[in-house]
């Protein structure tokens, strides 16, 4: 076994412990953010150095280190980097426990990195819980009424959904006698179709898995927690939840359903259809519920449900293509990469504005175009990208994922998605309109700190880069989508 392939995760673990220890001695809490960021950068550099090679899985085939996993690890590290940059000013409002805040962000990133590589049901469960338990604590970090309420709702619903997920895993283990994804696939492929159909255990297990993972990615009908938790959580954590937690959920869905249930074809057509229906309901419900919202974090909560719907189209395309081509998979990877920059950009702009106003109400954003023009410009760019208009990244992302779906006879789903994009333009553009045309409550300029500006510039550059020159990242996504089967 090759322990060197595990160094990015080990680095993060060491730095998380280091941050907690340093917290005891250091007065100047900014140092903790610097230490966390350096840990993320080191882990990122090592991950980039590993890119392109074809490594065997480590720990008895329990943890894959293929390019698919590396692609997602880079996404998580980039998100955590931006989140910590955006948190530096935000955390100064916590009187205590700043060290724990950074350490928990690092630990949940570690959990997500393990999720991206998990090739065994046991690893998958442990890494999922490592991520979730850190996030439960982070959501309640403000300790006020709303934050603790959000945390309790997230915890209770999250724990129920992971119990359901676990029951599904137990059924699949009972059906195949294996927990390693590749071995499960082999058992399923060697069984005759009659045996598979005669026993409900496999299908029931699969449905329970979809329910458990659906909670993580905020797919309808497991989306109840999203608006409340997004509203109550500290805003950097909301950003983190909406991007990284969703990407991690998609990483495991892709790996589990592609490598364990990818063959035979009738099976993948079945779950492809489930994902197609969930996508259609998710998009429609998310977009319609977002229209009457007045709180911007709640609005983005419903928007994230809708975006999960668009991403599920890619999963449906993957199910319908039965492993023939990578269009669906690489479409999801590209969409997630662009979604990371887009949603992070939007949330960092919201942190910049809301912490100064002490309000998340959309009407209070009136006149931001005059009071803080650069932040308003970045927020506008992010919202345009969420609608899916050029030149932002969201346009190319939707283009790739929709074309993958059209190739695999899912035209009806794409038509629903396009109608939904039009509906979504209404509520996204309403925010833009309030910002640029609304009457400001005061003429006072709002200034921003250097770290927030840096995070905002990085995210905006990402949006433009992926929107104008998508080819390079698309090639990376196609390369990463060729998952190794074990």
């Amino acid at each position: 076994m090759n322990l060197t392939l595990f160094i990015p995760e080990l680095t993060l673990t060491v730095f998380a412990i280091l941050v907690i220890l340093l917290d005891l001695f250091v007065r100047q809490k900014r140092v903790l953010a610097q230490v966390s960021i350096s840990g993320l950068v080191i882990a990122g550099v090592i991950t980039i150095a590993m890119w392109g090679n074809s490594f065997p899985a480590i720990f008895n085939n329990m943890l894959a280190v293929d390019n698919f996993a590396l692609f997602f690890k880079l996404i998580f590290l980039a998100v955590a980097f931006l989140v910590i940059l955006a948190s530096v000013d935000y955390t100064s409002r916590f009187a205590r426990f700043q060290g724990e805040y950074y350490a928990l962000v690092l630990l949940s990133t570690l959990g997500m990195m393990l999720m991206a590589g998990a090739a065994d049901l046991i690893t998958l469960y442990i890494s999922l819980e490592l991520t979730s338990i850190s996030l439960y604590a982070l959501v309640g970090f403000l300790k006020d009424g709303k934050s603790t309420e959000a945390s309790l709702k997230y915890l209770l619903l999250g724990a129920i959904s992971s119990a359901v997920l676990l029951y599904g895993m137990a059924l699949i283990f009972g059906f195949t006698g294996k927990t390693q994804l590749g071995e499960i696939a082999m058992v399923i492929q060697t069984m005759p179709a009659q045996t598979l159909l005669a026993s409900p255990a496999l299908i029931l297990g699969m449905v329970l898995l979809i329910a458990g993972f659906g909670f993580k990615i905020a797919a309808v009908p497991f989306q109840m927690w999203v608006p409340d938790v997004y509203e109550g959580a500290p805003t950097p954590i909301t950003a983190y939840l909406s991007v990284a937690s969703k990407a991690a959920g998609f990483a495991i869905i892709l790996r589990v359903f592609f490598s364990a249930f990818g063959q035979p074809e009738w099976l993948s057509l079945n779950w492809g259809m489930i994902f197609a229906v969930l996508a259609a309901i998710g998009m429609t419900l998310g977009n319609i519920m977002a229209i009457p919202q007045t709180n911007i974090k709640r609005l983005l909560g419903y928007s994230s449900i809708a975006q999960a719907g668009y991403l599920l189209i890619g999963l449906a395309a993957m199910g319908f293509s039965a492993g023939a081509d990578t269009a669906g998979r690489s479409g999801i990877l590209f969409f997630l990469a662009s979604y990371v920059f887009t949603n992070m950009g939007v949330f960092i702009a919201i942190i910049a504005i809301s912490t100064k106003l002490n309000s998340d109400q959309i009407e209070d954003y009136a006149g931001m175009g005059k009071r803080t023009p650069l932040v308003a410009l970045a927020l506008t760019l992010g919202l345009i990208s969420l609608i899916g208009m050029p030149p932002a990244a969201g346009f190319m992302a939707k283009f790739y994922i929709f074309s993958a779906a059209v190739q695999h006879n899912l035209l009806w789903l794409v038509i629903i998605a396009v109608i939904n994009s039009v509906i979504s333009a209404y509520y996204y553009l309403r925010v833009v309109k309030v910002m640029w045309l609304g009457k400001p409550a005061s003429e006072e300029k709002i200034s921003q700190s250097g770290t927030l500006k840096l995070a905002l510039v990085l995210a905006s550059l990402g949006i433009l880069l992926l929107g104008i020159l998508p080819g390079y990242v698309m090639r990376l996504a196609e390369f990463a989508a060729n998952m190794r089967l074990y």
Partner: protein
């Protein structure tokens, strides 16, 4: 009559359903947490029964169950801490009254 795999599976399915019902119907947050623990115990019974009857030569199911127990303990610890934080805020842990934000 000897005990077979079916008996264990039925037992665990019943336990899981009781847990799920309690988690959805009870109002006290601590009792909901206990019901979730019940669901996890039901899963452990399933795992161990499958391991014993399907692959008796390996201990995969038992190992999985140990991991589940450890994670459940961690989850309960964080859960109780959050319930304490809620209680300090409003002297009540009735989940139907925790409604600052509408569903």
């Amino acid at each position: 009559m000897s005990l077979g795999l079916e008996h264990y599976l039925v037992l665990s399915a019943v336990l899981f359903s009781i847990g799920l019902y309690g988690a959805l119907a009870k109002r006290n947050a601590v009792i909901i947490l206990m019901c979730i623990e019940l669901m996890l115990v039901a899963v452990n019974i399933t795992l161990i029964a499958f391991s014993r009857y399907i692959v008796p030569a390996e201990l995969t199911g038992q190992i999985f169950a140990i991991f589940v127990i450890v994670v459940a303990a961690a989850e309960a610890a964080v859960g109780l801490a959050i319930i304490l934080a809620i209680y300090r805020n409003r002297q009540d842990i009735d989940v139907t009254k925790i409604n600052l934000m509408k569903w």
